[in-house]
């Protein structure tokens, strides 16, 4: 149906390539027409940009590529370029007698696939089919990528964590994903390793935001953003995925604004936007922002995704949610913190184990708040979950293997179906934690099971900073694998400083027995807008995991921080959860 070269004409490709040439200069128009005809292309010329736009609109599939002059009286060539990119998504070649870098850059930024300088040579035109061809290839590749992404998400635990955001952002795919998973587990597994993963660094995200702002939020499209960003290796698909998340993020931000008022100087955390509708997983995220750089903390957010073995256990997942809200857990937190005394930093490391009214098992304030959350929803598993959380506070004063803060929480829960341990460690935090239910967003049929969770955590006596933790949401995520993602803890701090803190989360090698890779992503970002600091912990398919899973959190961020990592397996560190696509 595609008329271009993909039709019968394709045999002679690139002959018959349909080119629209726009130039207000009749002399050049004549020359270009002749040149293009000599290339056996199908040429249409017009001397006005508006005319060109009309032609293009009339016959949306009538052209394969557009060549346009930059300077035209009726419409700036860049404007035309933008329209074409937006409306027709055709490759556009700009041409000008001006080779100024700024101009060329502008062209490329606006989405030009090439920028030719006049006088244009035959050989340059002879080659333009490549842009059309390249575009086709990319389109095909994008589709493939998407599929791989989907597969990967459903298949691979560790990859899932990487892709946490995408995964979240593309919940509409969950069905598909599920299908893939059911139908063909193994075959697709291999693909995951080949997949090109985009890590949305702060820089990259900044570029992205800049591009969005430049275009105007209501007019943005992945293509335009991509072009503006001018990052070669990025694909349109990457941008599209990120844009989707960004949109959701913004809309969430808006919702949060209401909360903000009550909490005073807050931050927003950004999570992987997700569409809860299709998800039945469990997700919550904590994003804590702490700006007290002096103390070496910025912020620590964690976002864990735990998957359980029973992918079909929707009920179980939901149960978790409801239990969280309904069940008051008794949490025993054993904290041994030898370091506290020794630490030269005069933080009152205090561990408080609290029961949150609503649901949070425990909250410890000492050090970077860390939140670990592991859940198992499988009802069949009778094992007790004894999560073992070890938090390390790395100060230079500490011998690498010296005493560390250790928080151990043992929780025995009568209900084997769901065991969740929450351990939060905050350093220098005084604030309140609020758990706010975003369950309302959950539109799936399970929605009814979800009850709002609200928990207020007592303020901890802390040093100078007051922080606010806002636990925003637990959102079910979809997938075959149920996942738990702590989401939405906002810690707001009085100081804003853009700094980054990286947390390395390592898992003890002793736990190697865990089937799947245990990958923990910890990220802290203090960039003015805190986006999705999150730790994704993914695992699973392994009930054994439930038995005992100690996680070690290290905070290597502080310069003087010594992190005894030797005994541990390092996990990838990512700056921004949102930035992974």
């Amino acid at each position: 149906m595609e008329n271009g070269f993909s039709s019968p004409r394709s045999e002679s490709f690139p002959a018959g390539l349909r080119v629209l040439v726009v130039d207000d200069d009749p002399t050049w128009l004549k020359i270009l027409e002749k040149m293009l005809k000599k290339c056996a292309y199908d040429v249409t010329t017009c001397h006005l940009a508006r005319e060109a736009l009309n032609l293009l609109r009339e016959r949306k599939d009538g052209y394969d590529i557009v060549i346009s002059d930059v300077n035209m009286p009726d419409m700036d060539g860049f404007k035309l370029l933008e329209h074409v990119g937006l409306e027709m998504d055709l490759p556009v070649i700009m041409m000008s007698v001006d080779g100024e870098t700024s101009k060329v850059m502008k062209g490329v930024q606006h989405g030009a696939c090439d920028y030719l300088l006049k006088p244009i040579r035959m050989k340059e035109l002879r080659n333009i089919w490549q842009h059309v061809f390249r575009k086709k290839i990319h389109e095909i590749r994008d589709i493939e990528h998407e599929n791989i992404d989907i597969i990967q998400m459903s298949r691979n635990g560790s990859d899932l964590s990487d892709d946490g955001h995408m995964y979240c952002g593309e919940d509409y795919n969950s069905k598909k994903r599920k299908d893939f998973d059911k139908n063909d587990d193994k075959d697709f597994g291999d693909h995951s390793t080949k997949k090109h993963r985009v890590v949305w660094s702060v820089d990259l995200h900044q570029k992205f935001v800049k591009a969005v702002n430049q275009i105007g939020f209501d007019k943005v499209g992945p293509k335009k953003i991509l072009d503006l960003m001018n990052v070669q290796w990025l694909t349109r698909e990457n941008v599209a995925s990120h844009l989707q998340k960004y949109r959701l993020y913004l809309s969430r931000l808006q919702k949060e604004n209401d909360l903000k008022a009550s909490f005073g100087g807050i931050k927003h955390s950004d999570f992987p936007p997700k569409d809860p509708a299709a998800s039945y997983g469990h997700q919550s995220s904590i994003s804590l922002n702490q700006n007290d750089v002096a103390n070496g903390y910025q912020f620590c957010g964690s976002n864990f995704i735990a998957q359980d073995a029973d992918t079909k256990n929707h009920e179980g997942d939901l149960k978790i949610v409801s239990e969280m809200t309904e069940i008051k857990r008794t949490l025993t937190a054993d904290v041994s913190d030898p370091q506290k005394a020794r630490s030269s930093q005069s933080f009152g490391h205090s561990f408080a184990s609290l029961e949150t009214e609503a649901s949070y098992p425990a909250f410890d304030s000492t050090n970077p708040p860390e939140f670990s959350w592991s859940e198992n929803t499988e009802t069949q598993v009778k094992k007790e979950l004894k999560p073992h959380l070890q938090l390390e506070d790395g100060y230079s004063q500490l011998p690498p293997h010296g005493p560390q803060h250790q928080i151990q929480m043992n929780q025995l829960q009568s209900d084997p179906a769901v065991t969740s341990v929450l351990s939060l460690t905050g350093r220098d935090i005084s604030g309140s934690i609020e758990t706010k239910p975003l369950f309302t967003e959950f539109k799936s049929k399970h929605a009814s099971h979800v009850s709002p969770t609200e928990s207020a955590i007592d303020t901890f006596p802390v040093q100078t900073k007051s922080q606010l933790i806002n636990h925003q949401s637990f959102e079910p995520i979809s997938t075959v694998i149920s996942s738990t993602k702590p989401q939405g803890f906002n810690l707001s701090i009085t100081d804003l400083e853009s700094s980054q803190r990286n947390l390395t989360l390592a898992s003890d090698p002793n736990f190697a027995p865990i089937n799947e890779d245990l990958t923990v992503w910890l990220q802290g970002d203090y960039y003015s807008m805190n986006f999705g600091q999150s730790i994704d912990l993914i695992d699973y398919d392994d009930p054994g995991f439930l038995a005992e899973v100690p996680f070690y959190f290290y905070d290597p961020l502080t310069a003087d921080f010594q992190c005894p990592i030797d005994s541990t397996t390092e996990c990838p560190i990512v700056d921004q959860g949102l930035f992974i696509a």
Binding site: D69, V97, P119
Partner: protein, 151 residues
């Protein structure tokens, strides 16, 4: 014989355009585009260029009468003019265009005026030369084509 003579003369004349810097290789490009479908392609393009650019020259003339000069506008016109001039490879004219635009950027009205006079001169010289060339080519043309095909 006479035709061969004309052809030689034509070739010499053409060569002089390049040697004296009136034209650049773009002109050769145009010649290469000429084929049976457009046997007078080069001449057509040159004619088109002169017809279209005379309008621009008029615009620039008018713009130069203004006081103060609108350098942005002038630069814009000259940009167009330069673009056109590259199409036929009018090297000297193009050079004046570049100079003119530099004066525009510098806000040098006098430089603009002076350069524009020079530009018009070069523009006219080239026009005369090319007209003569095409006229001679028309006379020798058929033979030239014939010779080529024979070869």
């Amino acid at each position: 014989m006479e035709r061969n003579q004309m052809r030689r003369q034509l070739a010499l004349m053409r060569q002089s355009f390049f040697d004296q810097g009136f034209l650049d290789e773009q002109f050769i490009q145009l010649e290469e585009l000429q084929d049976d479908a457009n046997p007078n392609f080069v001449e057509e393009v040159v004619t088109l260029y002169y017809r279209d650019s005379s309008r621009l020259i008029l615009n620039i003339d008018q713009a130069l009468e203004r006081n103060p000069l609108d350098f942005n506008k002038l630069d814009n016109y000259m940009h167009q003019f330069k673009g056109s001039s590259t199409s036929i490879g009018a090297k000297k004219v193009k050079a004046e265009c570049t100079q003119f635009r530099e004066y525009c950027k510098a806000g040098n009205s006098e430089g603009c005026m002076r350069t524009f006079q020079q530009l018009k001169k070069e523009y006219a010289i080239l026009k005369r030369k090319l007209e003569a060339y095409f006229q001679q080519a028309r006379q020798a043309g058929p033979l030239e084509t014939a010779c080529r095909s024979r070869n």
